[in-house]
C-alpha cells in the first residue's frame, strides 16, 4: 500500500495540472473548487448523486466473468466491468450526473459542454433534460458530419448543438469554443467538462465522480475472487474511465494498471492519438499535461478510428502516473481495435465501443502472458451501437479491396 493524496491544494499532480486559464476564468474555477469541496462533504448531495446513479443510470453495473474470452486468450481470468450497460451507453453519464447536480447547487441553470464523438454530449443533454437545465454543446464540424446520429440525439433531448469551424474542427477546437463561451457566460453557466482534463478542479472532480467504477469493481472482485486482481486495463482518451477505474487501486501496488491509448495507423506515422507515448509535456485547455505538439509548441491533431480517443492531450493525473511509473501506458492500432471489436461480439455477444475495444485488444495480449490463477479486469467503457456504421463501412471497404 502507498499513500496517494494528489492533487495538492493548487491542483498540481507533481509538475502537471494547475489552472492555466485566462484571468476571467479564475473566479469561476475558484468558486467551483469551493462549491465542489462543500458538496463532497454534504451527505445530502452525495445521497442525491447515488440515488440518480442507481435509479436513473442503472448502477451498480455488473462485473462479468468473460469465460469465452478467457479460454480464447488462454491465460488469466478476464472480467469485464460493464459500463456499457449504463443509461446512454457509456461511463460518461457518471460524471454528467455529478456535475449537473453541482451546477444546480450553485444556482447555475445553464450548461455548456464539448463533445467529440457525441457520447459526452448525449450524456450531458440527457441529464440536462432530466434536471430541466439549458444545454449548449460545442462539437467540431468534422465530428458533426461523422456523428450525425448523436447530433440528432442531443437535439431530441433538447440541447442546442453548435458546429465549430475553427482550427481543425474537431474535439480540441470544440473545447476551445466551449472555454470561450464560458469566459463570456460564467455568471449563469457551468462548464460540464467531459474528461479528467482542463483546469483544477476538473481533473480531480471528474476523477472523483468516475471513481464509482473502481470502487464497485474493487468490492465486486473481492467478493468473487476473494482477492484483488493482478491487472486492470482501461482505454485512454482524455482519461476519465481509466482514472475512475484506477483511482481506487492506486494504493494497491500489487495491482498492475494498464492505460491503453489509440495508436491509430501506427505510432510511427503522424496518424495516432498516443499523447503519453509520443507527446511532450505542455499547456493547453487550462492544464499542464502530455501533449501531441510540434517542435514550436503548436498542438497537433490526433487521429484514431475511435472518435472518443481522438484528443491530442491526456489528463494531468495520467501524465503524473506515467512519470511516477505507477501506471503502464501502451497503445493499440485501429486495426487491432477493429479485430477486438468483432471478437468480443462473436465470443461474448457484447458489441463494445471502439474506444473500449482498444482496452480489450490490449487485455487479450496481456492475459495470455499471465497465469490461469490470476485475474485481469477490463473497463468496458461503452457499448458499440454508435460505431456499428463505421465498422461496417471499414469491413466492406476491406472486402472490396
Amino acid at each position: 500500500m502507498i499513500d496517494y493524496a494528489l492533487p495538492n491544494e493548487r491542483g498540481h499532480f507533481g509538475m502537471f495540472g494547475g489552472r492555466y486559464v485566462p484571468e476571467t476564468l479564475m473566479q469561476p474555477v475558484l468558486e467551483l473548487e469551493i462549491e465542489y469541496e462543500k458538496a463532497k462533504k454534504d451527505p445530502e448531495f452525495q445521497a442525491e448523486v447515488k440515488r440518480l446513479l442507481e435509479e436513473y443510470v442503472g448502477r451498480d453495473t455488473p462485473l462479468f466473468f468473460a469465460e469465452n474470452l478467457t479460454k480464447h486468450s488462454g491465460g488469466a481470468k478476464i472480467y469485464l466491468k460493464r459500463e456499457d450497460l449504463n443509461h446512454t451507453g457509456a461511463h460518461k453519464i457518471n460524471n454528467a450526473i455529478g456535475q449537473a447536480l453541482l451546477a444546480v447547487r450553485m444556482g447555475k441553470r445553464k450548461i455548456v459542454a464539448e463533445t467529440g464523438a457525441g457520447q459526452h454530449g448525449v450524456a450531458t443533454a440527457t441529464v440536462c433534460a432530466l434536471l430541466k437545465l439549458d444545454c449548449i454543446v460545442f462539437m467540431g464540424e468534422e465530428d458533426v458530419k461523422r456523428q450525425a446520429l448523436n447530433v440528432f440525439r442531443m437535439e431530441l433531448l433538447g440541447a442546442k448543438v453548435v458546429s465549430v469551424k475553427s482550427g481543425s474542427a474537431t474535439l480540441k477546437d470544440a473545447v476551445n469554443e466551449a472555454l470561450r463561451y464560458w469566459v463570456a457566460n460564467a455568471d449563469d453557466t457551468h462548464y460540464l467538462l467531459g474528461s479528467v482534463m482542463g483546469p483544477h478542479p476538473f481533473p480531480m472532480m471528474v476523477r472523483d465522480f468516475q471513481s464509482v467504477i473502481g470502487n464497485e469493481t474493487r468490492e465486486q472482485i473481492l467478493e468473487r475472487e476473494g482477492k484483488l486482481p493482478e491487472a486492470v486495463v482501461a482505454c485512454i482518451g482524455g482519461g476519465s474511465n481509466s482514472m475512475g477505474m484506477f483511482y481506487p487501486f492506486i494504493g494497491d501496488t500489487d495491482v498492475k494498471l494498464y492505460g491503453v491509448e489509440a495508436a491509430g495507423r501506427g505510432i510511427d506515422t503522424p496518424y495516432h492519438a498516443a499523447s503519453l507515448t509520443k507527446g511532450r509535456p505542455g499547456v493547453v485547455h487550462g492544464s499542464l499535461m502530455y501533449l501531441l505538439q510540434n517542435e514550436d509548441g503548436q498542438i497537433q491533431e490526433a487521429h484514431s478510428v475511435s472518435a472518443g480517443l481522438d484528443y491530442p492531450g491526456v489528463g494531468p493525473e495520467h501524465s503524473y502516473l506515467k512519470d511516477a511509473g505507477r501506471v503502464i501506458y501502451d497503445s493499440i492500432t485501429d486495426e487491432q481495435a477493429l479485430s477486438a471489436f468483432q471478437l468480443l461480439a462473436q465470443l461474448e455477444g457484447i458489441i463494445p465501443a471502439l474506444e473500449s475495444a482498444h482496452a480489450v485488444a490490449f487485455a487479450l495480449e496481456q492475459a495470455a502472458k499471465m497465469k490461469e490463477t490470476e485475474t485481469l479486469i477490463i473497463c468496458l467503457s461503452g457499448r458499440g451501437d454508435k460505431d456499428v456504421d463505421t465498422v461496417r463501412s471499414i469491413i466492406k471497404r476491406g472486402e472490396s479491396q
Binding site: 485566462p22 476571467t24 479564475m26 463570456a184 511532450r280 517542435e295 509548441g297 497537433q300
Partner: protein
Amino acid sequence: MNRIQETFKQLKENGQKAFVPYIMAGDGGLGCLADRLLTLEKFGASLIEVGIPFSDPVADGPVIQQAGIRALANSVSLRDVIVELKRTKGNISVPILFMTYLNPILSYGVERFAEDIREAGIDGCIIPDLPVEEEDIIAPLLEKANVELIRLVTLATPPERIEMISQKGNGFLYTVTVKGITGTRKEYQSGIGEFLEEVKRLSAIPVLAGFGVSNEEQARELASFCDGVVVGSRIVELFIKNDLQGIEKLVSSLHKETMI
C-alpha cells in the same frame, strides 16, 4: 527604471494617454513585421504588442484567430519572430511587448526564452493563459532577464485580487473591459467607466484598457478613465485591408490635438 516605466513617465509628463496597438507576427508574412512596427511608431503608438501565433488561442475572437491561422500557414514560429526582431532591433524606439500563450514558450524553453527576447529587445510579455497562481513557472526568469511580465485583471476580478495582482508588476496593469474574448464590440456594458476608475484607484501602476476597442470614440472614452488603451482586432483588420489611413486615424486618436 525600465523602458516601459520610462514611457509611462514621459506620457504622464506630457499629459498624454497611451495607445497600444496589437499586431499578429507573421500575418502577411514575417517580412512585413518590421515595416508594420515602424508604421505604428510613426503614427504615434506608445508601445506595441506583438502577437505570437498559437494553434489554440482560447482568449481570442475570430479576427485574431484567423490572423494566427494565416501566420501559422506562413510557417511563422516564436523562434522566427525572435530572430527577426533581433535582426531589426534598433529600428524602432517604442517598447515592444510579446503577447503569447504559454505553450510556445514552454516548447522553446523558458530560460532560453527569457534571455533571447531580452537580447532581441523585447521589453515585456503578456501571457493570457498564465494567471498569477501559476506564474512561478516563468516570472522569476523574466525578472532576472529584466523583461516585464504584464498581468491582466478583468471585470470578473474582485477588488482584493486586483490590488494583489497590481502589486506584482512594474509595467502596467492590463484591464480586460469585456466579459469575453478579444474582438471588436459595438458597445461596452454600462458601468465600464466606474470599473476602470476603481481599478485605477486600486492599482499602484498605470492601467490600460483592452479587448473590444473598435474605434476612435471608444478609445478616447475608455482612455478618459485610465492611462490608455490596447487595440487588437481592429488594427489587425485594418492591416489586412491595408487601410493605413484608418490605422493612422485610430492610433493617433489619443493625441492631444484630437482629444478636444
